[in-house]
Amino acid sequence: MKIKSTIIAGAALATLSAFAAQAADTIKIGFIDPLSGPFAATGTNGLAQFRYAVDELVNKKGGVLGGTEFEIVAYDNKISPKESLIQLKRAIGEGVRYIAQGNSSGVANALTDAIKKHNKRNPDNRVLFLNYSAVDPALTNAKCNFWHFRFDANADIKMNALTDVIKVKKDIKKIYLIGQDYSFGKSVAAAAVRFLKEKRPDVVIVGNELHPIGKVKDFTPYATKIRASGADAVITGNWGADMIGLGKAIGETGLDVPIYTYYAANDGITKTIGASGKNKIRLVHEGPLNPPSSAAYEAYHKGFKAKNPEKDISQFRIANTVQMLAAAIEKAGNAQPINVAKALEGMEFTSLHGETLTMRAEDHQMIQPIHISVHTDEGITFDSDNSGYGLSTETTVAAADTALPTTCKMKRPM
């Protein structure tokens, strides 16, 4: 039944595209992320945020194209690239034309290749890839393609913003880099070395350490080493249990220096680090939480907490993804992925926070303000993990200053 209607819709699209989009009952967004296994907490959290964003920001406001609603269809990929490709096929078969994925750059790399191939072979039912979290720089550089859009800042952009902050902090003279021993950990370290050399040649990198991912039971020896190195600041891309262990161990040695991180918040991390990381742990992220930015965001946040008291808006970019997709569909006048993609390219958009975001046309990388926030319990309106602790914005790097040149040579379809 569904396949049949897809074929009919597909045939109709070829001739009467605008009409066909009107005829479809909903616009389906396939959410392909881990919903079971060790990373299930992150995946289900993302799904809840997508569902809420779609309801609150699109469907309750009358949908798009005069009444068509968005629908989130969840597919569990167990964070495996292989499983993701199977789920992608299934999603396309079920009439999904928009794929949202974020956890793991390994999966994103597999999906972007598969979607590129699919669109080449099936020009009549193309698919758009909305990457809301995978931050491997390659996705919008060497491996960029027309059908992939990234709504999060990539790892290099985040490091660029972070080193901009370090550039003016003249009291930081020695920096210790520590990360998980795999592609992401290594790329964070490499970017840190590159940008620091450029912006603060006087800074000494006193340690560049990689530890096995998910296997360290006690971070105390690492913390002792960091302490003994005399570092004035620590930079890490650690996430999950590795972030908690490192944060706690550094806190216990009494080392009072800033620890710059990518992922030290939410999903139990804020609660566990608690007082031991106060005014030490800092996060490089998009979407400021405290102090509250706007009434619109405040209402959105409170609505989400009322529905999901145990969860947090840990990935604000999900709201941007949904809103920008809706705006692009309206601008295109239909829901055909190729027209929507063209509408998304170069789109300027004002987020719930009141920030101006741009989807850069040349590589489909979102250019947005980046915030450096500190983990504290003072002046927190919106806390994380219901712990009383949350992120308070210290510095904001303007969107234009975060933008990095891209090596992308985009091939656009005719």
Binding site: T224, T272, S387
Partner: protein, 316 residues
């Protein structure tokens, strides 16, 4: 440098003694029943989670006493109604039983407590730096862990060598049939030892939970290393387990602390390496990078050169 060595020494001893609490139970169970209990680290995890739940309502100290008891009873039940039945089909069946049990416990823990890391914290009266040396703090909680572990070691040693129960246990280890003939209830002794071993693992979990994190992967992280200790120390030897625990604890800590690479060693022998050679990855390999495999390397070496372990009496 002295600062690094001093704190690495302390950290190594804390880690080593914590490992000993796990290994002591495992080695006793092995020497008595001939079973390598794969689920041993799972009881450690259970201890942490049970204590976390208790601490939410009644505080840390109640958890410290009650959680090991709960885990110990659970262990005894597993022995009485699980392992004892499986025993009839030999050691392989028992091994597979404990292997399955480890997975089962991990899934159950995730089912009950979820996948997030739990905010299990040290009690407030222990949240202060005990002393500061070269500007680096040594947390009081670490000292508390140290004291508990040493206390357990002494208590175990006294019970096993100076008490009547210890006498029967030692007899049951070496001559189970003869002990049974003399009128002792050997199955009960087995159950007691298994329960006691699990309770010790649970206690280790209770005190390690706040320090090392309470999360579903905590058993896996520690599980394999405990086997290394038992083998290196000699299967069934309590003293061996003690020495091996300290050895592994110090080995791991110092391997991370000391930044030496293969090329540094070669330079010491006046051998220069070519930075562009095909083996450059090997030359740049540093001690902290290979730290996680060092215990296993030791395991392999011990099995080759001294299969009975450092203090083991028999070959198994």
């Amino acid at each position: 440098m002295f600062e690094l060595i001093f704190f690495s020494l302390l950290n190594g001893i804390v880690t080593g003694l914590l490992l000993f609490m796990l290994a002591s139970g495992l080695t006793l169970i092995f020497s008595m029943m001939g079973v390598l209990n794969f689920a041993h680290a799972s009881f450690y995890m259970l201890g942490a989670y049970v204590a976390y739940t208790i601490s939410l309502y009644l505080g840390f100290w109640v958890g410290l006493i009650v959680a090991p008891l709960v885990v110990g009873v659970l262990g005894a039940v597993v022995e009485r109604y699980g392992l004892r039945h499986v025993h009839r089909w030999g050691h392989v069946a028992e091994l597979i039983f404990t292997f399955g049990l480890a997975f089962l416990i991990e899934e159950i823990v995730q089912f009950i407590w979820g996948k997030d890391t739990k905010a299990y914290h040290e009690p407030e009266i222990l949240q202060f730096p005990l002393f500061t040396f070269f500007g680096q703090n040594f947390p009081a909680y670490k000292a508390f862990m140290l004291l508990i572990s040493i206390g357990i070691f002494i208590a175990l040693l006294l019970v096993l060598t100076r008490s009547r129960i210890g006498l029967i246990i030692q007899a049951a280890i070496t001559r189970p049939n003869m002990t049974a003939m003399l009128g002792h209830n050997v199955p009960l002794v087995f159950m007691g030892v298994f329960g006691m071993g699990c309770a010790l693992a649970g206690l280790a979990g209770v005190i390690a939970g706040p320090a090392l994190g309470t999360f579903p992967g905590m058993a896996v992280v520690l599980g394999s290393i405990v086997f290394v200790i038992v083998v290196v120390g000699g299967l069934g030897s309590l003293g061996g387990a003690f020495i091996a625990s300290l050895l592994i604890g110090l080995l791991q800590t110092f391997a991370i602390a000391l930044d030496y690479s293969v090329s540094d060693i070669l330079v010491a022998f006046n051998i220069t390496t070519d930075a562009e050679s095909a083996f450059r990855d090997l030359w740049t390999l540093s001690l902290p990078q290979i730290a996680p495999i060092l215990p296993y390397l030791l395991l392999v070496l011990i099995l080759i050169f001294r299969p009975t372990g450092l203090f083991g009496k028999r070959e198994s």
